[in-house]
Symmetry: C2
Subunit: 303 residues, 2 copies
């Protein structure tokens, strides 16, 4: 189906010097044949910025390599402080299949770009999540443990030899973590109670870490402005743990406290397919195919 | 939002001579810069074919004019018989806004193409539905009353003077009806009862003609193969009478007979927006915008 869309969400270690962030983003935007920059978000406390780009394989490849080039000229981690853990100047680059590309395509792309980054910039590269080469290297938090400052020691451990590039950190840019994962949907559900404890209990019921749905992370949050409690959720694989199933569990858990769902929100972007799946479920469609969607039919190769 | 998509569903009066239908469709497909042909469906009893095309304004204009050219060379209504009422060789051509185009754009397009058809081919043209120039000419069935054979007499009535072109029918091609309307979704809902009377009662509850929703047509049908009854629905304006509202009324009316909805189906194509609206409703989203859909964001003009 459709034109190829791969999303990539590179995180780089600068969120304070606005002119530096701007210069980097402008360079990425101007990449010939590059991907579209859909969002830029910088955090001063974290001293970190997150780009959201999307395009076909060629486009994201060109843009990510351009990002490395620019970041390496402008960021020196030896002078960097921030609340968010980081290993490198370009800290982490996930590739996400959205349309016309499989997870296998994104794993391959992550490995090819990892190899090229290591060769061109002499930055050691770790592959993570779906692109990881060993089970203990799947989890980003484990790879990042010890941070930039701990890299020289960590890299002497053969379990932490990089997948590509030199076996010591780049002096100013540390190491980079490149990989492939599913699309992350930020989905929040609001309850008609100010009691955050109820949202917390529901969060525990739905999230993987405490016995809930496999691809769901959640916590309770007080929306003090609205006198409501919220279940704040990261859906880390909407294909396997869909939005509607999580919402229905929340409704049933909330009812046990006499509480109702008053609304929900999707923060940022959502793949069309995730919403079509919800429509399919609630409309009780039989044998629905996404190629019945007029826009998809139009995007299919020639009739 | 997004790239312009206009759908057009021309009906022409040939459904028996396969080689004629094929030649016409091939010519339309080969239109330089034309719209995409998404579907062709011919009916032998009706002796009629229906094309579904989609593209931007320029594309649908080119394809429709090419269709007239080809049909006028190949179909002579003086030798045509079929069960379906018809006024012309190219009988009816509706334009439907799908994305990046308004109903007003489609009305304008219908009028421009109507004028051009009349001028180039000397075929009288009636404008209908949203493009109609008088209330009594909105309804296709009223315009078509008397059919091709009755045209010479009907056209003498000043109430039935054409909107464009000569005030007598084209000798072999009659007259054409061109207009603009909303997208039609064929939506069927299956009930866990073999009793078609229950489906009939529910159809009467939801359809406009007997007191139901304004943009809903419906009837009860027996699905004898499955021992189920079906409410068969035409949603003629999904923006104003949405799928979810009709489904929820059906569920509640069915419950009154102890009957459940076992499933539903969409026959043919559906605009993405119609399914997003269902997801929005059932997920209880607050302040959701279609530009949060990644694919829509990508289609927006440059960032």
């Amino acid at each position: 189906v459709a034109k190829q869309i791969i999303e990539t969400v590179p995180n780089f270690s600068e969120g304070r010097r606005e002119e530096v962030v701007r210069a980097i983003v402008e360079a990425v935007r101007a990449t010939p044949g590059g991907a579209r920059v859909l969002d830029v978000s910088s955090d001063v406390d974290h001293n970190r910025s997150v780009l959201t780009l999307a395009g076909d394989e060629k486009g994201v490849r060109a843009s990510v390599l351009r990002l490395f080039e620019e970041v390496l000229q402008r960021i020196d981690l030896r002078n960097h402080q921030g609340e968010h853990p980081r290993l490198g100047a370009v800290d982490v680059v996930p590739f996400v299949p959205v349309a016309g590309a499989s997870m296998a395509d994104c794993v391959k792309l992550a490995r090819e770009i990892g190899e090229e980054v290591a060769a061109r910039f002499e930055v050691p590269v770790y592959l993570y999540e779906e692109a990881a080469t060993a089970e203990h290297r799947r989890n980003l938090a484990e790879i990042r443990k010890g941070e930039f400052e701990g890299l020289p020691k960590k890299m002497k451990d053969p379990r932490w030899a990089p997948d590509f590039g030199p076996d010591r950190p780049h002096p100013s840019a540390g190491a980079s973590v490149i990989g492939a994962r599913e699309f992350l949907i930020a989905f929040n559900v609001n309850l008609d109670t100010p009691q955050v404890q109820i949202a917390d209990k529901i969060a525990r019921a739905i999230r993987h870490s405490s016995g809930g749905m496999r691809y769901c992370k959640a916590m309770g949050v007080a929306l003090s402005g609205r006198q409501l409690a919220q279940v704040s959720i990261n859906m880390v694989n909407f294909k396997k743990t869909p939005l509607h199933r999580v919402l229905e569990i929340i409704k049933s858990e909330a009812a046990r406290y006499g509480v109702n769902v008053v609304g929900s929100e999707i923060v940022g972007l959502v793949p069309n397919e995730a919403l079509l799946a919800a429509a399919d479920f609630y409309l009780r469609l039989e044998e629905f195919s996404v190629s019945q969607v007029l826009e998809n039919r139009l995007a299919e190769p020639g009739t």
